[in-house]
Symmetry: C2
Subunit: 219 residues, 2 copies
Amino acid sequence: MKNLKLHGYWRSSASWRARIALNWKGLPFEYLAVHLLKDGGQQFSQDYRAVNPMARVPTLEWTEADGQARKLSESMAILEYLEERVPSPALLPTDAYLRAKARMLAEMVNAGMQPLQNTSVTLRIKTELKADEKAWAAHWNVHGLTALEAAVQATAGRYCVGDGVSFADVLLVPQLYGARRFGVDLKPYPTLLRIEAACNELPAFQAAQPDRQPDAQPV
Amino acid sequence: MKNLKLHGYWRSSASWRARIALNWKGLPFEYLAVHLLKDGGQQFSQDYRAVNPMARVPTLEWTEADGQARKLSESMAILEYLEERVPSPALLPTDAYLRAKARMLAEMVNAGMQPLQNTSVTLRIKTELKADEKAWAAHWNVHGLTALEAAVQATAGRYCVGDGVSFADVLLVPQLYGARRFGVDLKPYPTLLRIEAACNELPAFQAAQPDRQPDAQPV
């Protein structure tokens, strides 16, 4: 994998997941900012839709040794692919059942929480349904984080699954940032907060933080 | 894997995915119906929350040869686990890039579409936001299916990725059923409809259909 380019947005949690994984695997990449709000959303431009018809971030582009151009979107698919191409350092446990649990915890965020709070959804709640989009997003965060706090009890060590960083941690950290933005009280989730703190000691997680990205804006 | 039990609901698309995969892998299972609407939603019962704190279907339970009890939820994690435990017949291509594309297409449904139309979400749109939940769900189906129809052009053969059935097909078929329920016109997605028809010729897909489940109700 050469000439890696990541199309992302500084505080898109799905872009953030891809940044963590690329950092973790030691893969340098060029960061191409797609502003989700400017110009009515740059992700809807014809140019970006040609890269990703879903009009979402992230998309990873690269070149193979034989010169073939490649592109891949959907953060979970990107994580799985990086894990297959660069197995070490790992982002999944070696035991098959624990690997399944790491994926399960990751999907509780990926399918269970984040889709309900992404920019296109909160925008529609606000502008079309004339409802409180922060309350909407907070509701699904509380539901999902309550379930996640319960579920990690079965597997947590220093991280979500034992003492090795996994997909579950990669998904957790950006989700908690999102939950804070929507005003969710995180005190009921002490295990998740403890794991977040452990992750944030790691350089791969630190370098992926939104405020360290070139397109970051003052909050 | 012995004594396989699948907690599901006849027309939950995530349960349906798990049924297809179990059938495909030739794994017999006991089907335990969780009625998502009766009794205020049986998934919210204390008994079921002990099985799955997310209060969602499906959950797969089984016993290992050494007697250990296992359980796993989140349909994508279940699919990945079954693929690892019973690699043949496969549900992912052998080429790593095509495997990534199959996961990408699957996640366009799993994270991009289905979470916005699941029962708990449409119920909240209707009862809390007093909005038209069918129009809400249809909107996200149109957005997602348009992207999916565009994305499969790069990989489709008889199925979503070449001529082998993959996760992408397992996710597609239940999603199209959901789209019809929400009144979405499917004519703009001829490739997806063609692939659906090809899948529905396969016994593993046929046996997984909602109306063939013991908890099916007249529509």
